[in-house]
């Protein structure tokens, strides 16, 4: 008895109810990649919705244009410039990825390798930018997952002392302005100020830390996305090695593996669109 004709061998010409049809005209691998991405989209959506709920539950929230306003090598405040650059790098790597997939469809090995290589560079560049951003927040601004030195004023007032980082004694501020509590040695410098308007006018208070959820959510969500980018770069490198050693030439399926990795890579870009929206734009 022939035991090699097991349940795994399905003839495409068999009827639909015998497993022969392909109602979606897509291979199993591609379809499963799509459904994995759907589930991953729910994961990210869950995180971003949690961010939205917690942000709305706090009386104030650090203004992103203040928190993310530095650019390597440039002095002063450049709100959102650096994250826009990061977005462009990731968008461009999505374009190089789509070109790699296209070259794969016409079995052009050199083209696939070239565009895949550019995609890897783009992904690595994005990770480098993120490393710089995190280093700035953790190393220089001393934000942690449970201490958020970025607070937002809820009333108008006047500083009674300076910190040597742009705030001088006598400087005025308005409700809605975001501030950073600098750290000197082991101590956060919570400057004293006098309220100038409202029910508490004349009272002397000191700067308070911002909502601690900010740091936790920021590091967790951008970290989770960054980890996706990192695994994407690793998978791209493996696929690139396979392309160069002719693994996919023999399969004669139009470099379908490149297409599947491409889906994952575009998804990472897609998630960034919404991370960018929630953390930096709104």
């Amino acid at each position: 008895m022939a035991t090699d004709t097991t349940v795994h061998s399905v003839n495409p010409n068999d009827g639909t109810w015998k497993g022969g049809g392909e109602p979606f005209k897509a291979s199993y691998g591609k379809l499963m990649m799509w459904y994995f991405l759907v589930s991953d989209a729910f994961t990210f959506a869950g995180f971003l919705i949690a961010y939205g709920a917690l942000r709305l539950s706090m009386p104030s929230w650090p203004v992103p244009d203040f928190v993310f306003s530095s650019f390597p090598g440039l002095e002063g405040s450049h709100p959102l410039l650096f994250v826009t650059l990061m977005t462009f790098i990731l968008l461009f790597s999505s374009f190089t990825m789509v070109r790699a997939v296209q070259e794969g469809h016409r079995e052009n090995k050199k083209g696939v390798a070239f565009w895949l290589f550019l995609t890897v560079i783009g992904g690595a560049g994005f990770l480098g930018c993120q490393a710089w951003e995190w280093n700035k927040l953790i190393g220089e601004e001393h934000m942690t997952i449970h201490t958020n030195p970025f607070g937002t004023h809820v009333e108008n007032g006047k500083y009674l002392e300076g910190n040597g980082h742009g705030i001088n004694e006598g400087d005025l501020f308005h409700a809605g302005d975001t501030y950073l509590i600098h750290k000197h040695g082991d101590e956060y410098q919570q400057l004293k100020y006098q309220v100038s308007e409202g029910a508490d006018a004349g009272k002397i208070k000191e700067l308070e830390f911002g909502p601690k959820q900010f740091g936790a959510l920021f590091f967790f969500i951008t970290g989770f996305h960054g980890f996706h980018v990192f695994s994407g770069v690793m998978i791209l490198l493996i696929v690139l090695a396979n392309v160069l050693s002719n693994v996919y030439v023999e399969r004669r399926n139009g470099y379908e593996m490149v297409e599947k990795v491409g889906l994952y890579w575009h998804f990472v870009d897609l998630v960034w669109v919404f991370v960018f929206l929630c953390f930096y734009l709104l």
């Binding site: 005209k25 709100p79 999505s94 870009d269 669109v273």
Partner: protein, 136 residues
């Protein structure tokens, strides 16, 4: 489809990436302009500014999913099986953002609003249910 030729697709991808880049620039411009970073004193309504940027992000998502991820050219059944489940998120967003607002309300009013006081056990009713109750 005629538009599926190599050169046409290449052009289409190039147009898509340029469009995505332009939308991104406009989004960042709106975020900065509306808060008065470019011309001082400008203050746009936060709600409408936010809604505009959400819509623009959804447009970006459309182009990434339908052109780059090629979903536009897949079988309709497959497209539905991927997109329909995500409609559940509409409710999740509405429900949790409302919940977040409610938490915020609780945070700011607890203390001076007697109706919103947290339940604090006093020990008065501690003997009301005795272990004997459960012996038949």
């Amino acid at each position: 489809m005629a538009s599926h030729s190599y050169e046409n697709l290449k052009k289409k991808f190039l147009h898509t990436i340029i469009l995505l880049a332009v939308i991104t620039v406009v989004e960042v411009f709106i975020a900065l302009y509306g808060k008065g970073y470019i011309v001082e004193g400008v203050h746009w309504n936060h709600f409408w500014m936010g809604s505009l940027m959400v819509v623009m992000s959804l447009v970006k998502a459309y182009f990434i999913i339908f052109i780059f991820m090629h979903l536009k050219y897949e079988m309709p059944g497959m497209v539905r099986s991927i997109l329909f489940p995500t409609l559940l998120l509409v409710w999740a967003i509405i429900a949790f953002l409302m919940e977040g607002k409610y938490w915020g309300h609780q945070r700011t009013t607890s203390g001076d609003d007697a109706d919103n006081q947290e339940y604090v056990p006093t020990g008065e009713n501690i003997n009301r249910i005795s272990p004997d109750t459960f012996i038949m």
